[in-house]
Symmetry: C2
Subunit: 391 residues, 2 copies
Amino acid sequence: MQTTSPPRRGFDDAEFSQRTANAQALMADAGLAGLLVMTEAEVRYFTGFHTLFWQSPTRPWFVFVPATGKPIAIIPEIGAALMRGCWIDDIRTWSAPAPHDDGISLLTDLLLPVAKQGATIGIMKGHETQLRMPLADWEQLMATLPGLGIGDATGLVQGLRMVKSTAEIEKLSQICGIGSAAFAKVPEIIHAGQPLEESFRAFRIAAIEAGADDVPYLVGGADRGGYADVISPPSRRPLQAGDVLMLDTGCTWDGYFCDFDRNWAIGTADDAARRAYDVLWRATEAGIAAAKPGNTCSDLFQAMSAVIAEMDTSGGDVGRLGHGLGMQLTEQPSHAAFDTTVLTENMVLTIEPSLSYGNGLMMVHEENIVVSANGARLLTTRAVPDLPVIG
Amino acid sequence: MQTTSPPRRGFDDAEFSQRTANAQALMADAGLAGLLVMTEAEVRYFTGFHTLFWQSPTRPWFVFVPATGKPIAIIPEIGAALMRGCWIDDIRTWSAPAPHDDGISLLTDLLLPVAKQGATIGIMKGHETQLRMPLADWEQLMATLPGLGIGDATGLVQGLRMVKSTAEIEKLSQICGIGSAAFAKVPEIIHAGQPLEESFRAFRIAAIEAGADDVPYLVGGADRGGYADVISPPSRRPLQAGDVLMLDTGCTWDGYFCDFDRNWAIGTADDAARRAYDVLWRATEAGIAAAKPGNTCSDLFQAMSAVIAEMDTSGGDVGRLGHGLGMQLTEQPSHAAFDTTVLTENMVLTIEPSLSYGNGLMMVHEENIVVSANGARLLTTRAVPDLPVIG
């Protein structure tokens, strides 16, 4: 059911060697003798290791980027066959789970020479990070290697990942096109009387039929005149005339996400909902116009906020009006007053204004763009300018 | 397309108060003045907060279970509306993301009185856990509250979650039935000549049509005479006569997982694949027979291993032959020689023997059961005893 031939899956080895070289240049500047990553996106970024098996929380996975040379993987044996197909050469495994030593002695062996030199390695320990290994094992590692310095490499890695390669943008464009095709099907598959749970089910199938590998993220809401919550699973309540329905989806293709939403009125729309839609559509236009190299995320936030203020001056409480997009549903940077990240070419971003109106209702709009030299290029098919009425 | 009426979604408040009371009794025994959890499954376990929004790694979420009374949530404002629908009363929010204080001052305020008493709280820091907040924020919290004791509550929480309630078992039974219905469709939807990627797509749609909310986990492999890797995404290679195909899925219903697999020969099967299938089918029987109250996970592992040894004496390297199942694809306990957990009624488990054969091939079988007073009760429709041959 796809209309265009998809791009090639995976990446050339050159992509990974370039990513590694870029990291190593920044590591040298920061005085880091290595970089230890253990989260899905970062392990995949440096090695190409791509599997849904991360959904099992049981086992830790470690990749060490040395100052020079290819990354080194210390991983559970169950991942060895898949990792051997990746571009790296040094793969050290253990039979996991192993409660008394889940990779820690292998990690200690690797880091001991670095610790003996009193050198510092980077890990991601800052904002928007998690420690994907048991804290007790981390504490043990630190106690075993007292000479090892630990630096915060959060900004280093997030900075690299923010700017996408040509191949990454092809994948993101592909999944944004698939998501757009799935949203275009909504008037055919969603209708009054349908329990919202069934609307979700119909949308998931439409997205997969349109070419999505998966629909890991699908949230939304529907109620009379609007919705109050944008992260809930669906209820069994049937859609009714006068409802505003919102669906927000993160579909994936080859491990890359789209993340955008659409709104529809069921049967008829009231003035408040129409007006909220119009304000947000124009706020999105303002965000798209501001998304050019040299502007900051804060500029983008202010551009959208100025339009939103026509209807809602609360400033909102969802924390931001969009974010980076890539291997994860949400990535750095944040379109927020606090984020002074300067936009550069090849950043892929969501433009996501929201507002509160009426009696506790809210509305969200969202598009996905890539920043080019000339300004934003839409990856999604732009939402129509007036609240569409369906079924 | 579902054949039976699904159970009710969600839980009664009594379920959450019972879980909390159970935890508080164990906390009292362990001398813990509170329990701090921050991972999706644990936050949901104690509050009922259920959303796919956890796929955004941006924001931390905290739930504190005090020594008495209901849990207290410290969460990003974007989750407030959903959390207010849950059974707890004390919900403290901040506008996240906030790089300089992502909930840490709220958490400090909550824990300060506990720290002043020199009391100890539990967190999950042991085997199979992760720290779902920035390590730097954790270090800051510890530095700000030097009087606060930190105990390891991993076993306490995992022990509670291992034993399922009646309502949880209904949900698990529901999704195992849906997964079984989807696997039963495979002979109609998967055939020689179909690229494996399209086979995956067809299976996902079948599972959603059969009633799954989602198919978050789908891995598998297919190649001549067998497969070598059990965690890969699909290739574009068309299925061919003589292939053995395996699909392993974690579908969800109301936030609960099935996790099981099936094998098929395409067109024709060779003797080695038939024999591997037969050995694993009987190993599964042995595992099911051993899954009764009083036996240990190690007993279960040994029962399966004895049959597997007919064909493969390597002991395997995937680390275990099954595990717990519930809100997560894989949970405690592990069917492994190291795990002496005693099986009790209402544990829900996978029985998952695997073996290596031929030139680097492997095969896996898997069923899902609940432990009852009389032994295992299958939640999945048992695989046929001989390797099935399809189109």
